[in-house]
């Protein structure tokens, strides 16, 4: 996989069309909200429809079959790809079909229908221009909506020139004209038309397809036999249920209120035009077949943990939002469905083993979940996928060593890092940064300059639990997290200082361990639970009113994941709930502690704010840090993609330093383009990544936690 990542990142043509775009100013979701689209309302509606439909699937299938049969369609239920392909091939052979036109369908790509028919000697012509390009290149679609978005104009011109036997210029209009002319004849000559289906409606036996090019209308209307090949998960009960899907599918794919053509097809063409002979076959297809395909979908439905993947409407919004996809593009994943959702689908269509590599690419930034019109928690499914493979195959020796032998035991971690703090000396520059390291950390140190391990970590600097004060000042326990504890102890001190000034009593409970995120996201649930218990116990010390962290990844663990980890653990679950209720982000707590403080006079320094993934999308906190900074007199210049991932992603930086770097470079470009002298953020690992990356660029821009900024000011 690392090799494929490398190939993608060094493919100049690919990078010129993918990574070269830089970060969008705002996310798709924000854009929709700004243009008055009720994204939240519509996505909740889609979620409801999908949940109910999948729950009620057996009944809907029967209802669909009855209605479609009444309309004169033939319905075939296929177990898997082979079964579906074979049905279509047999039908084609029986009708003596020589040429088939096909509109775009991810399902037919999934089961490789075109290749199957071609092998049997039948010509199959893709009619969506993007699909046609991919067919000419003998490739798989790179994106579920834009199959050929990776092809440069020059490449397209070469492919189309070869196909049409004409010398075509790499000019969009010329290429479009050529495709139009070439494809038109195929529709006219074809003996069969094949489409997928975006939605199928049980009550009327209807197949709904959305297209923009008009190829869908021609494919489904001109040839005498029409076949729709559709996955079971596309079933909805009625027409009203389809409405929200139509709206958001159109929005998410093309930014339209509705795609240009929405065809609802309910049976073969018929006419009453010849007097006295009603119901004759009309000018369109005389036969309509609907092939309903399982191919792992029933297993997904039964799995419980991964049922959500069936709610996917294949809009591709998550791919556009994914920092990994937009860096390495779809082919790197290795299977037909791309991105995080693709990893889950791959697990059921190709096997758990095959899903491991694609799942390993996920940074866990949650950008996909944020834009999903069906509210699918893709990152959670990725974590469960990793947990399942740990269950089945165990951890790799490296992970076992790191997670179970060291991270799990605070004393061993402290010991190991103590040794590290001596070993690092030859590599540490005067400013305490490490810019070169020997293998196996060589490539990491080439990507970002690393902070040195502090010989005096935070836990050795702040000590002691205060006694219960009579004035009842709020007691705030600091939870450091590994990065702040060992790399940036001064950050913890700054938090303590600022909070102390608000009248709170900050302290550092002993016995804290790593929050468990590295283990949890690697799928090692057992170790993560162990660490959860250690921390729940540690953070009960001194009975704090609040617990504050400088790492939102840790905060999200304490506040959310500990609850699910301790779900079956009786008393521990109650203690986890008590803990979760106390966890605050630094900015959130400062605002809570100091209500009604007046805005300070404007400062010279212009700053930009980087939203940590786990703070914004994990905990929903993005307004508070900005409010606090503005109250302190700072003018925030918003960079493009302020909430785009920095590329750290825990394990990613170790497993795929090149990928981490590619994601980071776009972020750094956005930061530099903002024209500020300071980047403020709320996360120790983000600071490590951004400082390290900017240092490699020899940039003067400083990266700082809001607590440090405030502590320095006062």
């Amino acid at each position: 996989m690392a090799k494929r990542v490398h190939q993608a990142l060094t493919d100049e043509d690919l990078q010129s069309v993918m990574g070269g775009r830089g970060l969008p100013r705002i996310s798709l979701r924000q854009r929709m909200q700004m243009t008055g689209v009720d994204f939240d309302g519509l996505s909740r509606e889609i979620r409801r429809v999908k949940e109910e439909s999948i729950a009620d699937l057996p009944r809907l299938v029967e209802q669909f079959k009855a209605a479609a049969t009444r309309n004169g369609s033939v319905v075939y239920e296929a177990r898997d790809g082979e079964d579906a392909n074979n049905y279509v091939l047999r039908l084609a052979q029986e009708r003596d079909v020589k040429l088939i036109v096909k509109s775009k369908s991810m399902l037919t790509e999934e089961i490789e229908l075109r290749q199957y028919l071609e092998k049997a000697g039948i010509s199959v012509q893709e009619t969506d221009i993007g699909e046609w390009i991919v067919q000419l290149a003998n490739e798989k679609p790179i994106h579920m909506v834009g199959p050929a978005i990776h092809k440069t104009l020059k490449q397209v011109a070469e492919l189309m020139s070869r196909a049409t036997g004409r010398e075509l210029e790499p000019e969009p209009q010329a290429l479009l004209q050529a495709s139009r002319e070439a494809l038109r004849q195929y529709y006219i000559d074809a003996d069969m038309g094949i489409s997928g289906g975006n939605i199928i409606i049980a009550e009327t036996g209807t197949v709904v397809i959305l297209t923009n090019e008009a190829n869908g209308c021609m494919t489904t209307t001109l040839p005498p036999v029409y076949v729709a090949v559709v996955g079971y998960e596309k079933l909805v009960p009625g027409w009203e249920d389809a409405a929200a899907i139509l709206r958001l599918l159109s929005r998410c794919t093309m930014g339209m209120k509705l795609t240009v053509y929405v065809s609802h097809i309910s049976g073969p063409s018929r006419t009453d035009g010849i007097p006295g002979i009603p119901g004759l076959p009309g000018q369109g297809p005389q036969e309509m077949h609907v092939v309903l395909v399982d191919n792992g979908r029933q297993l997904m439905r039964d799995s419980g943990d991964f049922r959500e993947a069936l709610y996917c409407i294949k809009c591709g919004a998550c791919l556009g939002a994914c920092p990994v996809f937009t860096s390495v593009a779809g082919h790197t994943y290795g299977y037909i469905y791309q991105g995080g959702i693709g990893a889950v689908l791959t697990a059921f269509m190709n096997g758990m083993e095959q899903a491991k590599d694609p799942a390993s690419l996920c940074l866990g930034c949650m950008a996909c979940k944020d834009v999903c019109p069906a509210c699918i928690d893709i990152p959670a499914m990725i974590t469960r996928l990793r947990a399942r493979s740990v269950d089945e195959d165990g951890l790799s020796w490296k992970s076992r060593l790191a997670l179970r032998s060291i991270l799990k035991h605070p004393a061993r971690l402290a010991g190991a890092l103590k040794i590290g703090s001596y070993l690092q000396k030859p590599f540490t520059d005067e400013d305490s940064m490490i810019r070169k390291l020997p293998s196996p950390l060589k490539s990491v140190a080439e990507t970002i300059s690393l902070p040195s391990i502090s010989p005096r970590p935070l836990h050795s600097r702040i000590k002691g639990t205060p006694s219960r004060d009579k004035k009842a000042s709020p007691r705030v326990a600091l939870y450091a997290g590994c990065v702040a504890d060992y790399a940036y102890p001064e950050l913890g001190e700054a938090v303590g200082k600022v909070l102390g000034e608000t009248g709170a009593v900050p302290y550092y409970p002993g016995g804290q361990s790593c929050c468990g995120a590295p283990a949890y996201f690697a799928g090692d649930v057992e170790t993560a639970l162990n660490m959860a218990k250690t921390n729940i116990f540690a953070l009960e010390e001194g009975d704090p009113d609040y617990i504050v962290t400088v790492c939102p990844g840790c905060a999200a663990m304490l506040k959310k994941e500990y609850l699910s980890l301790t779900a079956g653990e009786g008393e521990w679950r109650k203690r986890a709930e008590a803990l979760a209720g106390k966890v605050r982000d630094f900015s959130q707590l400062v605002l809570e502690m100091t209500p009604g403080v007046e805005k300070k006079p404007a400062r010279e320094s212009k700053i930009t704010y980087h939203d940590p993934c786990h703070l914004k999308r994990g905990l929903g906190i993005y307004a508070e840090p900005r409010e606090l900074l503005e109250r302190e007199g700072y003018e925030i210049v918003e960079m493009n993609g302020a909430d785009a991932c920095c590329g750290f992603g825990g394990e990613t930086v170790l497993n795929y330093p090149e990928l981490s770097n590619s994601v980071m470079q776009r972020k750094l470009n956005a930061i530099e383009a903002a024209g500020v002298d300071t980047v403020v953020t709320s996360c120790a690992p983000c600071i490590m990544q951004l400082r390290g990356g900017l240092d490699k660029r020899q940039s003067k821009i400083r990266v700082i936690h809001s607590a440090e900024l405030l502590a320095g000011d006062n």
Partner: protein
């Protein structure tokens, strides 16, 4: 119930934004002239037309034919009426034998008075008309204001061919036939299906919004992919 003027305004705004040209005709004559002028300016000689109460109501076919443009009805019933020299929109009362004669004469082959034989000939003959036509004219069962969409219900699918195959597509629609939202459209469809189809859902219900586009070739989102180059919508009042 939203005000018709408001719905028309919103329909116009969205249809225009998505690449259609909306013309609000002052009356029947104005509507006829708009279509004729458009056809003449673009040098259109052949037109395919699907059933449209608006077009039939204003004698559009006859108007275009008088100006020397060939207009072919593609709804089978309307085509037969046209072959019989009957007025557009009328229901033909011919027998199957008479129909066989009409179609035989038009297609130049001797056809038996059997449904399947006649339809096979009609299909072949009309298919060529769609391909040759420079303009397609269709009606719309109704429009949707919030999206600028036209909705068509049909069993034959001839409207779909007349809509996407020719270079220019013109929709004739009544101002009063615009509903507010997609949800209203679904209610309207259900009513239409109950009223005219006796509960049987039509084979094709097509929502059509603006001009066809593609983003598949790098560079930009390009207007006109594989369908018509121009979309015109002629809105006509009740009076």
């Amino acid at each position: 119930m939203a005000d018709i003027e408001e719905l028309v305004e919103q329909f116009k705004a969205d249809a225009t934004r998505t690449g259609a040209v909306v013309y609000e005709a002052e009356g029947a004559g104005d509507a006829r002239d708009y279509v004729l002028k458009l056809a003449q300016e673009r040098g259109v000689r052949h037109i395919v037309k699907s059933k449209s109460a608006v077009a039939e109501g204003i004698g559009l076919r006859e108007h275009l034919e008088k100006a020397g443009i060939e207009v072919r009805e593609t709804d089978i019933g309307q085509w037969i009426a046209q072959l019989a020299g009957e007025e557009a929109g009328s229901e033909t009362d011919k027998t199957v034998e008479q129909v066989a004669e009409l179609i035989s004469r038009e297609t130049g082959q001797k056809l038996e008075p059997e449904g399947d034989v006649l339809m096979a000939a009609a299909r072949r003959f009309l298919r060529q008309s769609y391909i040759n036509a420079g303009m397609g004219i269709s009606g719309a069962d109704f429009g949707i204001a919030e999206t600028g969409t036209m909705v068509n219900l049909s069993n034959d699918g001839n409207d779909r061919l007349a809509t996407v195959l020719p270079l220019i597509h013109v929709t004739m629609m009544k101002r009063e036939d615009i509903v507010a939202t997609l949800s209203d459209a679904i209610s309207r469809i259900k009513t239409l299906v109950e009223e005219s189809g006796g509960g049987q859902i039509p084979s094709y219900i097509t929502y059509h919004t603006g001009r066809n586009t593609t983003g598949d070739i790098r560079g930009a989102l390009m207007a006109r992919a594989q369908g018509p180059e121009e979309e015109h919508i002629v809105l006509l009042g009740n009076a």
